[in-house]
Each structure stands twice: as C-alpha cells, then as structure tokens.
C-alpha cells in the first residue's frame, strides 16, 4: 500500500512540473506530433523526446503497451469517452484530443482531473490519482490513444500483439499489488 502511494506521489509531482514546462513552451509540442520510435527498452518504445509511443509492425502486430492500453481504456475510460477514443454524447473524443494534447498534459489531466461546469456545461473529469487500474497503466493508455490519434490503428481490438515483457509483469505487480 505504501509503495503504491509513493509511486502515485511521484507521478503527480512529475506531471505537475511537466505541465509547467509545456505551458511555457506551447509551440514546441512535446512530441505529440511525432510519434516515430526513437528508442526502446524491454518492449517499451519512446519517441525522440523520450515520451512513450507505439510500435505497429507491418503485419499489424502491435507492441504490448498499445494492446494493454486498448484493454485498460475499454474498461475505465470508454464509459465516458466512447469506444476507440471516439467520444460520447458528453465526453470528448480522445482520438482527436491527443492530436494536440502532450504526454505531460495527458498525465496531468488523468491524475488531477478537470472541471468544466457552468450554465451550459456539466463536464467533470475525475481525478484518477488513487485508481491503480488507471495509474499503473497510464503509459499503456497513452500510447494506445496516441496510435488512435495518428490513425496508426483502426478501432477495435488489435488482433495480434507482442508478448507481455517481463518488465511489464514486474511493474504491474509492484504497482497494483496484484500478483
């Protein structure tokens, strides 16, 4: 339990400081516009700025994190944001939002939530900071939506994916406490 909260504290801090950075350099979108793989570590891919990104092989096989993100998204996010990131009658289409939303901003909104409540709006995004089902998979969800935003994959379940990396299994166990 303590480990979980410690990890979350780190995520929150990281995202807050990161959003300050992005706020002061709006023009230099934080890699949101260039998803090409620049490096990889244990089956996890990153772009030139070190932000998580997806890898889709020519035969349609997706990396583990994109697949995992598809699943996590369709449990905790799609009830508001619609299937495949396509939006609903009351929440934005994230497959669109992620065309402009940077990785740090994405993490910040998921962690801290966002309110838009006035006479014409009643939109509230909750804080997911304490939800291990979301926070332990935040990069997975991000790369999945990033792939959707860049039209790298269609909607629906990716039919083939890379094996779950050992590093992903270990991170999952230590983050969620589920063995």
């Amino acid at each position: 339990m303590t480990i979980k909260h410690w990890k979350f504290a780190l995520v929150v801090l990281a995202s807050v400081s990161a959003s300050f950075i992005s706020a002061s350099s709006v023009a230099l979108a934080d890699g949101a516009d260039d998803p090409a793989v620049a490096s990889s570590e244990n089956g996890k891919y990153a772009d030139k700025d070190g932000n998580p990104t997806y890898k889709i092989s020519p035969d349609g096989t997706v990396d583990w994190y994109t697949f995992s993100g598809f699943r996590r998204y369709h449990s905790d996010c799609h009830v508001c944001h619609g299937p495949n990131g396509e939006g609903s009658t009351y929440a934005p289409a994230l497959a669109e939002s992620l065309k402009t939303l940077t990785y740090p901003d994405f993490v910040s909104v998921v962690t801290n939530g966002r309110n838009h409540v006035d006479a014409a709006n009643d939109k509230v995004m909750p804080s997911f900071a304490t939800n291990v089902n979301v926070m332990c998979y935040i990069d997975d969800i991000y790369v999945y939506l990033r792939a959707r935003a860049n039209n790298a994959i269609p909607g629906g379940r990716p039919p083939a994916h890379e094996d779950k990396p050992e590093a992903a299994k270990q991170a999952e166990t230590s983050c969620t406490g589920i063995k």
Partner: protein, 626 residues
Amino acid sequence: MKKMLVASASIVGLMALHGSASRADEALDRLAKDPKQWVMQQGDDANTRYSKLNQINTSNVKKLQVAWTFSTGVLRGHEGGPLVVGDLMYVHTPFPNTVYALDLNHEGKIIWKYEPRQDPNVIPIMCCDTVNRGVAYADGKIFLHQADTTLVALDAKTGEKIWSVMDGEAGKGQSGTDAPFVFKDKVLVGVSGGEFGVRGWISAYNIKDGKLAWRGYSEGPDSDTLIDPEKTTSLGKPVGPNSSTSTWEGDQWKIGGGATWGWYSYDPELNLVYYGSGNPSTWNPVQRPGDNRWSMSVWARDLDTGKVKWVYQMTPHDEWDYDGVNEMILTDQNVDGKQRKLLTHFDRNGFGYTLDRVTGELLVAQKYDPVVNWATKVDMDKSSKTYGRPLVVDAYSTQHNGEDTNSKGICPAALGTKDEQPAAYSPETQLFYVPTNHVCMDYEPYKVSYTAGQAYVGAAVAMYPPKGDTNMGNFIAWDGKTGKIAWSNKEQFSAWGGALATAGGVVFYGTLEGYLKAVDAKTGKELYRFKTPSGIIGNVMTYEHGGKQYVAVLSGVGGWAGIGLAAGLLQPQNAAAWHNAVDQGKLPTQEKTVDTAGLGAVGGYAGLASYTSLGGTLTVFALPNE
C-alpha cells in the same frame, strides 16, 4: 362471533393508527385510476404503462400533431417522463436535476422551478451519463431523487422543500438515477454504482417526514438483506441461513454490486414490493467465485417491514454484466384455466420470465430475442439439480474461458436484450410491448483493484449487431403466458424509449434517432411517426386536459446508448479495417472469423451522430381541432 368482533376491533385500531397514511395512499390510488392524469412514472403500481384513454385510436392517430413543446435547458440524456397531476405537469431533467411545474391551463407557463445545488464531482461517478428517471407524486409532495443520492420532498404547489435526506455517499461511488416510488405511506429509492463496487440496497422512507423506515441490502448477512432463513423462499424452498454471504469468497460481497436503479412495482393485496438487483462487481467473474447472491435477482419484499417474502436469482455468478434491474410488470391472467397473479420481467440476459408473484414460482423463461446464445435455456425441470438456472454455453462463458481471454460473439451484449427502457402491457391484447436491443459483444475480463469512489470494472467490451443483421434493435409484442413473440418490428438502433399502451389500440414508443412512433397493438403496423428534436431515451406518457387527449415524451439523446451508439460503437468497419489495412489477411483464421462478426452490417448503418444531436425537449402531441 366473538373472534370476528376482535378482528374488526383490531382493524379499526390499525386504521386509527395509520389513519393519515392510508388516506394519502387512497388519494394517490384514486388519482392513478383516473386516466386523465398520469401520477406515477409507470402509470400504475403494477408498472403496466397502460392508459384507458382512447380518443387517439388506430384510425385517427395518423393525424397526430405537435401541440406544444418545452426545452428543459439541459443537454444530457433524458430518461423517464413527466407526470400530470390535476392541472400541473412536472418535468425533470438529468443533472443538475431541475424540476419544473408547468401550468396546463396557461400554455405550460412555469409555475415553479427547483434546482438543487449539488457537488459536480458526482458527475463522473455516474457510469452511463447523468440520467434521472423522473419524479414521484403523493400527499401533495413531489419527490426527487438527486444524482448525489439526496431524496427531497417538495411542496407540489410551490416547489418549496419540505424535507430532504441523504440516502448514500457519492464519495464511495454511490449515485441516484432511479425515480422514487411511492406505495402507501412510503417512498422507496435504490442506488446506482454497480461499476464502482457499491453494495446495492433499497431504502423506504416515510412520506410524511423523511424518516428511514427500513433498508434492505442486495448482499450481506441476513440482518442486512432482511432475509429470514426459514420464511424467505427461493423457487419454493427456504433459503437457509446466510444465503448471500455463503456464495461469496471472503469479503468481496462488501463491494459486491447488486445495484437497484430500476422501476419498482407493488401489489396492494399482497403488500409486496417487486424490483430487481443488478450485476455483481467486478465485471471480472474470476475475481468473485460463487453464485454471488443476491445480485441479479427478482425480489419480493413486504412494504411495511422490508422483509423478503421470496427471491429468485436469474443469472447466478454473472459473467456478462446482465443487470437484473429491469421492471417487474404485474398482471392477472388466466393460465391453464386458472386466474393467477403474475409477474413478467424482461431481463438484460435475454430471457423473458413469468413468475407467480404470490409464491415466486417460475412459470415461463424464454428468449425474447432468438439470437440470445450465452445459455441454451433455463432449466424448468423441478427435479433437476440445476432447476431455475440458465444452462450456460462454455464457448460464451467468460469464467470458463478465463481472465485475459477475449470471449467472442456473445449475445446479447452487456446492454442486454433490454435495458432500463420499460415495456408496456395491454389487458385488451394481453400482450407486452417491449423495446429491445439487438446487439452482441466480445468480453475480455482481467484483474482489477478496488479503490473507493473509483470505477471498478475489470473487462474490456466491444459491441456490434448480430452476425448478418443490420438492425440493432427490435420493438416486439410478447405473450408472457407462453413466452412467445407475437410480432417484431426492426429498429435501426436500440429501441431505448419506454413504451405506452392505450385503450385506443395504439402503442407508442420513441427511438434513438428521435422518432415518436405509433403502432397498431394487434399487428405492430406503423401508423404514425414524428421526428422530435433529439434522440429519445425517455418514456411516452398520456393524459387528458380540457377534454383532449395528449401524448408526451422527453427527447434528449444520451445514457448508455449515447456512449457507444453516438460515436459509432457498433461500427464493424473497424474490424474490416484491421483486416484490410493492417493485417493484410495474414492473421490466423480463428482471429479473423470472430473479429468479423459484425461485418454483415458494413454500410448498413452509420453512427447515431449522423441522425441526431443533444438537447432536452418535451414534445406534446394531440389530434387537430375538428
């Protein structure tokens, strides 16, 4: 003789004790019997949604016109419908749960408006839009069940608050979406939050002062469920001690779901309240071994005490999110030469059930959409070990296939063959009129952790129409005695609006594209349609004012239907794209065949967003003046 005297003396005593309460109830009963008014959400205690009005009939309904309209000022999904009590109409909205009293004598002028102040943080814990299923009336009060679980009693004439009580805790994922129901001297509310690990309950408050009379949980020890191990029966047998907790592993029942957000009915002769409990939580069945009682069940509780007379679990150990919350419709019909008190229920799981509502005996359980495939049938053999249970097909069992396996082609989808949209019953045709979903799904469960106030789902679900079909809904007529479909009309989208049956031989319902439709009760032939400003997920009602019959419905697309359908939840083009653009036909055959389950509908439809947009509006119809 002596005995009789004692008996009548005690009746007089009882009447004296409950004098004011029964007067209020009798007044409401009188109002409910007056077809000119519509004083409860479901039309009557029995939930038949049937009106004796017949000015609008099969021959003149084609002349129907819009008489007047009213904007609610709220954009989100509008479920439920207005009430008409005397010369006033009461209209409710989704969050922020505004209530309007409109004067029917003065062209719908707003007499009063009530808008509660609620913490907007309740919005994201409402799993499937900020819907509200309407207000209740009794004893000069309007009862509103707010999103934050506050139950408030307003003066029906002025809108002033008389009393209010907080029924749950939004911080724990508990929210209010269901309409309050008034039976006798009590007002009943349930709770939503099956996707947030809420342990469901139903509460009964005294209409006079808002004091809690009793609360019965869906799960837990007998003292919480108000189950008597000896007297409470299931399929004719006493349930025995701790019938709920013994079917869960560890403390999972404490976050076990069984929400209670449907429509309630009441039999005054038996003094029993009927309702259904929802899905067990989480959606991952592997994390909760056992039957998970009493989620997914039909309940009969004594109105005065909450004690359970009988209970029947339709879907033991749910593996598909087939919430059992849909309405229980009470009818008296002749079965095998005997007049019986029946209860008919169209479950999310795709079976239409008819039970004896006195004893809970199971009489009929048949599929009301032929594509239902997760179970072959419900075992009706009383000598069988599995009597009353669905016989589950392994291929569609997400428990059998296990965690991290995508079980494919399951019908119906988690939306159910019918969701909350209530059916109607006409005593003339003795048929039920049922708006249905015609949608299948893939379901992949996996492990999740519980955090109070956070979503607790644990399955990825993808939905699409049944193989080879292009329609995602049907509007059917159902014979509850035999369990057979009398007629069935295809609907392009799920039929998500509640039905109304009338003595004019006309049945009304609304569609997701926004049509109010009128069909012939006998044949299903469409007689009239009009496209309202937004998609309809509300319930049609009727009333008479100034000698004229009116038909009214709230439009305002949203709800669960609005999550997926609006975005094209059911677009099979996605599956096609995977094959054509990405996998280039190289994937293993098995993956290919199942992922294309929805391909039959390519081009047959597009997302609902192409047909309608948001906006809450009441549309009222009438025949033109001759």
